[in-house]
Symmetry: C2
Subunit: 330 residues, 2 copies
């Protein structure tokens, strides 16, 4: 089978390798679609801790079970599934353990004809989704689900702001918070994303490239009970400004780097919270898939590539595009 | 009576003024002791929002009720009391409301022979305390209590670090967390404070003036589940380093100013929390006094001044001294 493999010296290449087989407690999934994550980009750029040469990249996948190992229910065979990318979250729901890893490094991932995983990593694919859409879920939707619910405790009537609406995680956070009954505003640097978010029910859509968007947001929307961010950088302090008293910022990344200061004075007087979040535990993965099915949520797809062009898919994922996930199709 | 009054142009002066009397729902307390807070220092330096000339300073006081207004139980008369310095916290336990203020600006405070307050601001003084010790409690112990319990959720077996042990709030946080069964370490820049904290049961005492105290702390104590800080500044990122996975930093001030960056990467991977906190609500004030009585906690007193030297007490509070509160005695 063809697989996207990490080589020596930070190279990635589609390479021919032997098809894997399911061992005890494992299943083999024939991939139908996979999604690209920033993690893949960082690994391909050599900027990720613990890169192991020879490993197949890819954390997100949807496909069909075509082989079951010993001890696995045969009823999984021929089922459409999505794969939980968590490996060894550990016993504490509040935080991943020390041996936690994510599918696709150092374990072989989904950018290949087949992937072998433990049977307990499978979830039946929600029936309202295509394989492409289902493949968009795992890592990004899990991260959004935890940010919204475990840390953000989103509920009906809450005022939520999701920054960087175009992003893979952010667009899920927007849809999840809305489905839970919150009033959700967004920011983006791209006009078409602002329009799209309004079409999808955003209460407000602010362009963070406009110099005084904070004042505009403050006037038009008032403050927010919860802000979900992955940009970091100096605008992080603007988000503190927009926080309601006793409000919370949940962040799961810092793509703009670190803020050059932190407005502690404002934060303690507001009794505000800054909460770090990453991924989600196995219970949350299950709950996320059930939530997507219950609310008939359809992931947005930004770009589609045939699997043969997966290297381009990774290279181009950082370019501005439509909101949502980049997908490779098998 | 003599009272310490804020004048025009950021001056403070002991001034003769008429004795106040208790109106409807109010009591008059003859003060026996009052404590000095950084707030008094900042007001005296003109660096506090909303300074009103002519107001009597002082947020903390203990004394004896000597006059009750209409509608107040006469049984308060001659009782030894401490005064809850909150005014209009409001209905939300999670955060003070917009009209919230603190006794001693803009309402007349405790640096005077008498203070008039609403009867519902009174708590009977714990019987194990002197007036000096009781006067040390209100603002600082309330702040420590909320940091420890509302935000910090301290419980038995938790590993806690309290920075700047010498401070008025910090020494309460140390004692409260210990009383709740936590293993509590401290930092200080003064050797005698380190010694004192060890005598009082600190598991570890680190001198933050030593260049590699973070490495030492990490090696000797491992990480902490909760860190209580009011220093801010760049060491704030060192505290993130010392945080256990899913740990929390509760801070209630930033006496070293703002940090010049914030290590978001480390924070989100740890699923860590930064939680602002200030003061505490009325229920917490009551619970704090009950906690102090239950655990027979005795506040530390750093310096004592006769009331005639209250201006010096305020000026000198920023100087290094013994751990605990600065008290003025009537």
């Amino acid at each position: 089978m063809k697989a996207l493999i990490v080589g020596e010296n930070n190279t990635i290449a589609l390479t021919e390798m032997a098809e894997p087989h399911a061992g005890d407690g494992e299943v083999r999934v024939k991939l139908k679609a996979a999604a690209v994550n920033k993690r893949d980009y960082w690994i391909s750029a050599g900027k990720y801790p613990g890169i192991v040469p020879g490993v197949v990249l890819g954390s997100d996948g949807a496909g069909v079970v075509d082989e079951t190992g010993a001890g696995v229910r045969k009823t999984w065979l021929h089922k459409a599934v999505i794969i939980n990318p968590n490996i060894n979250w550990g016993p504490n729901p509040a935080v991943q353990g020390k041996t936690y890893t994510i599918l696709g490094m150092p374990t072989h991932g989904t950018f290949a004809g087949y992937v072998v995983v433990k049977a307990d990593r499978l979830q039946p694919m929600p029936t309202h989704l295509t394989f492409d859409e289902a493949a968009a879920l795992p890592l990004a939707a899990l991260t959004a689900y935890r940010a919204c619910f475990f840390h953000g405790q989103v509920n009906a009537g809450m005022k939520v702001l999701v920054s960087g609406f175009g992003g893979g995680v952010a667009h899920f956070a927007f849809m999840f918070a809305r489905a839970a009954g919150a009033a959700v505003a967004i920011t983006s640097g791209h006009e078409r994303n602002l329009v799209k978010a309004k079409e999808m029910g955003a209460t407000h859509a602010f362009n963070y490239r406009q110099q005084n968007w904070i004042e505009t947001a403050s006037m038009q929307a008032g403050g927010f009970d919860l802000i979900i961010d992955s940009a970091g950088g100096d605008p992080f302090n603007d988000l503190i400004h927009l926080l309601n008293p006793a409000g919370k910022i949940v962040f799961y990344g810092a793509s703009n780097g670190l803020p050059t200061h932190l407005d502690l004075y404002r934060l303690f007087w507001k009794q505000g919270t800054i909460q770090g979040s990453t991924m989600g535990n196995d219970e949350e993965f299950k709950a996320m898939v059930a939530f997507v099915e219950k609310h008939q949520i359809t992931p947005l797809i930004s770009r589609r590539y045939p699997f043969a062009q997966v290297e381009n898919a990774i290279k181009e994922m950082q370019k501005a595009g439509l909101p949502g996930k980049t997908i490779v199709v098998f």
